[in-house]
């Protein structure tokens, strides 16, 4: 009978271990009953979800979380929110083919150089939208949006995390990210520094709920927004992140480019980002050149020709 005893002992050990094994598959500190199924590729809720939302107080010196920028219009398809490139009697439509922006309600303070640069950019939307086949938006060929356009067009979801010496922003659109140094890094001299798509950023807390960032050193290959607003290599950007409460973060973005604009101007003014659940899975959003080439071959190019090819 020793053999039977041996197998009985093995069976007993296995049965006693089963609950522990099952429990080990759950998150720490939870039970099987508390674990809810997690989903993937989540979409951010619409603005109406946040109306009347009650929130806990803001945590001190903390921006971390997954934030919904889409709900309040972060896509900004018609140009920056504070200066949309639209005619007054056509608040939504793309009119296009206007020579400049002089007839829009709130024109930007271009310098002559800035106005000349504006005219070289041919957007697909807004008051200056050009016809089929003439758009030269760099984003359409998978170029990086660069900073600050990543906050002024297709600003959908951004995850923010903090380390002891950095604040990291992970932007959904084109799966891009920025590093903001908080360890005393000084901004480089933009005349000496290698130009970057996203520039060089340093940040600091000015109070327990307000974090400010200055960025320099962007290259001049990018647009500021979807309406083709230009910037020069002299661009500097000031951001202010203000944690209003646990669920709300306000972002103000100020553009300063004396070569192209007569004075600094705000592209976003207390733009609200809403906190998403911790288990919100951000869907990837790469710009794949091969997929873009297929799109242009099948749709973009044939849609743009004046007369269909027989």
């Amino acid at each position: 009978m020793p053999k039977r005893c041996f197998f009985s002992a093995i069976l007993l050990i296995a049965l006693l271990s089963l609950p522990r094994l099952l429990h080990a598959q759950n998150a720490p500190g939870t039970t099987e009953e508390q674990v809810k199924p997690r989903s993937w590729n989540n979409g951010p809720p619409a603005k109406k979800v946040y109306v009347g939302q009650k929130s806990a107080p803001a945590p001190r010196r903390d921006l971390s979380g997954i934030w919904n920028a889409a709900a309040e219009g972060g896509v900004q398809a018609k140009g920056v929110l504070e200066y949309p490139a639209l005619l007054p009697d056509h608040p939504q439509d793309d009119i296009g083919e206007q020579p400049d922006e002089s007839k829009i309600p709130h024109p930007l303070p271009y310098t002559p150089l800035g106005l000349a640069a504006l005219k070289t950019n041919k957007p697909g939307v807004g008051v200056r939208a050009v016809g089929p086949g003439l758009v030269n938006d760099p984003v359409d060929s998978c170029d990086p949006q660069g900073f600050p356009r990543m906050e002024l067009f297709e600003f959908r979801v951004v995850e923010i995390t903090q380390t002891k010496n950095q604040v990291l922003l992970l932007y959904q659109f084109y799966d891009n990210w920025r590093v903001i140094w908080t360890d005393g890094h000084a901004l480089p001299d933009p005349k000496e520094a290698e130009p970057r798509w996203n520039g060089y950023s340093v940040g600091k807390w000015v109070d327990d709920y307000t974090f400010v960032v200055d960025t320099v050193g962007m290259n001049d290959k990018t647009w500021l927004d979807n309406a083709g607003r230009p910037h020069s290599g002299d661009l500097t950007v000031h951001e202010q992140f203000h944690r209003v409460n646990y669920d709300t973060l306000e972002l103000t973005v100020t553009i300063n480019d004396p070569k192209f604009y007569l004075q600094p101007w705000q592209a976003l003014n207390k733009f609200a980002l809403h906190r998403l659940p911790d288990d919100f899975d951000v869907q990837e959003f790469f710009c794949a050149p091969s997929e873009t080439a297929d799109y242009n071959k099948l749709i973009g190019t044939p849609a743009s020709v004046e007369t269909p090819q027989k």
């Binding site: 590729n41 979409g43 793309d94 997929e291 873009t292 849609a303």
Partner: protein, 138 residues
């Protein structure tokens, strides 16, 4: 199997669109003043950036087949509305309301109701940011 359905090419009453569905690739190619509705048989559904697109064949009364391509928005926008990478498969019967490119090519953008094998599509809309029926989300 691809060309079984008779063409149902119905010009729906013209309407004005306040907001284009898609924006960042330019809108000037499309005629926003008129929606059309076309039925046919799916040949391919491509789930890709910058936009997804549906290919389907529509046959008219004399048997001529038109190969349609209709673009949707980007996956992160439409997946939140109930669309997915496997929403359509070859052989599915669809009726698509769309706007068409101005040059007359059989190319369109989803703009309005869609039916898939006789049922409304997508089956649900969770009210997420971005809406296939007009919110300004490319």
């Amino acid at each position: 199997m691809k060309h079984k359905l008779p063409l149902l090419f119905l010009a729906v009453a013209p309407s004005t669109f306040a907001v284009p569905l898609l924006a960042h690739h330019g809108n000037a190619a499309y005629n926003y003043d008129k929606r059309i509705t076309v039925s046919g048989t799916v040949t391919e559904w491509i789930w890709a950036n910058p936009h997804c697109w549906l290919k389907f064949d529509a046959k008219n009364e004399s048997g001529e087949v038109t190969h349609w391509i209709v673009e949707a928005s980007a996956p992160p926008t439409i997946s939140a509305q109930g669309w997915s990478h496997n929403s359509f498969k070859a052989g599915d019967q669809v009726t698509v309301t769309m706007i068409q490119v101005k040059n007359g090519q059989p190319i369109g953008r989803f703009e309005g109701d869609v039916t898939l094998n006789g049922k409304p599509f997508p089956p649900h809309d969770n009210g997420s940011s971005g809406n296939s029926k007009g919110d300004p989300k490319p």
